[in-house]
């Protein structure tokens, strides 16, 4: 099968799975922003995304997307290291026009995974997962909150400055990953040429920045609110 055997096929899988994850990010970001305006509306969304069959199917598909993206990231990165050979240059400079992100996608992706693990432990494990196990309330710090009370979770975690900084670092890694990833995915599919290359690159930067600001807004807002409380 050419998708699995050829270099361009494997890159295409990387690209499509990346675009799929981007679409998910857009959804997740929009949903988070609701929390800034109304805790009730946000909790309604959390309820919809509890242990219902459609939310579970969605989670499974999403996990599949991540898995494919990560498995192929490992495969391609290992193959590329082999193609490069063992002997490295004694002197090597990054040429003009080569972005930092483009040469460090795997490292940036690894930071994204670490952030994900933290995020899962803090939110998903105590929300959807707890509900799957049949719990309706979980302990959060000293309080006991409902598993679908997402607003309470946000308030609790983002009152801690260290957690806030960790999340912002996580988003920054994602920003770098997306500034390269977005146009790179389009280039891999082949929808680019000399004119569109610059446009896609510009769109990538704007898009990555919007995603960064969207996610960061929630963290910063809730941190500031916690200071006032």
């Amino acid at each position: 099968m050419w998708l699995l055997n050829s270099s361009i096929g494997k890159k295409l899988i990387m690209s499509i799975s990346g675009v799929f994850l981007i679409l998910f990010l857009l959804f997740h970001m929009s949903m988070n922003i609701v929390a800034v305006f109304s805790a009730d509306a946000y909790n309604m969304i959390c309820e919809l995304l509890g242990a219902n069959w459609y939310a579970l199917v969605g989670t499974a598909v999403l996990a599949g997307g991540f898995l494919v993206h990560i498995v192929f990231a490992f495969m391609l990165t290992l193959q590329n290291q082999k193609a490069r050979g063992n002997q490295s240059y004694a002197v090597s400079e990054r040429p003009k026009g080569v972005d930092f992100a483009s040469q460090n996608m795997f490292i940036l992706g690894t930071i994204v995974v670490l952030g994900l693990i933290m995020h899962f432990a803090q939110f998903w494990y105590k929300m959807q997962f707890a509900e799957i196990l049949g719990h309706h309330e979980v302990e959060l710090g000293t309080a006991v909150v409902g598993v679908a009370d997402g607003a309470a979770f946000i308030k609790y975690w983002f009152s801690n400055p260290i957690i806030c900084i960790l999340y912002l670092i996580w988003f920054a890694a994602l920003w770098f990953h997306l500034t390269h990833g977005f146009w790179s995915a389009i280039q891999t599919i082949g929808w680019s040429n000399q004119i569109w290359y610059n446009r896609w690159k510009c769109i990538s930067n704007i898009f990555a920045t919007v995603v960064f600001l969207g996610f960061a807004l929630v963290v910063v807002t809730f941190f500031l609110k916690s200071l006032c409380a």
């Binding site: 090597s92 082949g190 680019s192 290359y197």
Partner: protein, 251 residues
């Protein structure tokens, strides 16, 4: 008046593909800044020969930027610090008096070192042999303009055809990918009606050969484009991806 500089040269020496190499350091005095980089190496080699030592082995042929034989990684850049020139067109005026210049061979698993700075780029020939030609009968030389080709396509085909097969793209790529070279060779024919006939078969065969020879997977870092002496654009890579994916989807 002619200006001269003194330099320290750190050159990679390696006796064969299987042997371990190491840097050897040379001092060179009174090198004319008007001389080319290869002329400077000639001076060094004559000095070595007169001292009964082994001269440094490096590839070169035309010395005017058209054959693609010269291939040195100089101070961290394929074809040296100057932009859009081959090693043979690089001049010593690009270096400062007292500077230490590090010279290495292309480093990529698919380009094994033959000796010192000379690497085996046969892999490129194999990729061309896999399909980088037209085998249909295109008839005699047609009258000018009897086959209409848009100016844009003609220009892009010509730019792709400027690739001299030097391998700097592979040498500069952290993934050891040959996508810029292969895409230039695919594009120069895919853009023209005479080449279109076999376009789908060609791209499949050339990409398959490229993969078989162990070149890496492109992650669009653009190091190739930045270091290419002929300024071949990564728009060619997008075109090749497009051609390849379409050809496979049609099967």
């Amino acid at each position: 008046m002619e200006k001269t500089i003194n330099i320290t040269l750190k050159v990679w020496r390696q006796r064969g593909p299987k042997e371990n190499g190491a840097f050897e350091t040379f001092q060179l005095k009174n090198i004319s800044t008007d001389s080319s980089f290869l002329e400077m190496l000639d001076v060094l080699n004559e000095q070595l020969v007169s001292e009964q030592k082994e001269p440094i082995v490096f590839d070169h042929d035309c010395r005017e930027g058209i054959c693609g034989m010269c291939s040195l990684y100089i101070n961290g850049h394929a074809h040296g610090p100057d932009e859009d020139v081959t090693t043979c067109q690089l001049h010593m005026r690009k270096f400062k008096d007292g500077e230490t210049i590090t010279v290495e061979p292309w480093r990529s698993a698919s380009f094994p070192v033959i000796r010192d700075l000379m690497v085996d780029r046969n892999a490129f020939d194999k990729i061309i042999q896999a399909g980088g030609y037209t085998s249909v009968n295109t008839g005699g030389v047609p009258d000018a303009n009897s086959i209409p080709i848009s100016k844009i396509d003609a220009d892009e085909a010509m730019d792709a055809a400027s690739c001299i097969g030097c391998g700097a793209c592979v040498a500069a790529c952290k993934n050891g990918s040959a996508m810029l070279f292969v895409s230039a060779k695919v594009s120069q024919l895919a853009l023209l009606p005479q080449g279109r006939v076999e376009a789908a078969a060609r791209v499949k065969k050339m990409v398959a050969k490229m993969d078989e020879l162990g070149f890496g997977n492109c992650t669009n870092t653009r190091a190739c484009e930045a270091e290419c002496p002929k300024n071949v654009s990564i728009a060619n890579i997008a075109r090749m991806n497009r051609e390849f994916i379409c050809a496979k989807l049609k099967d």
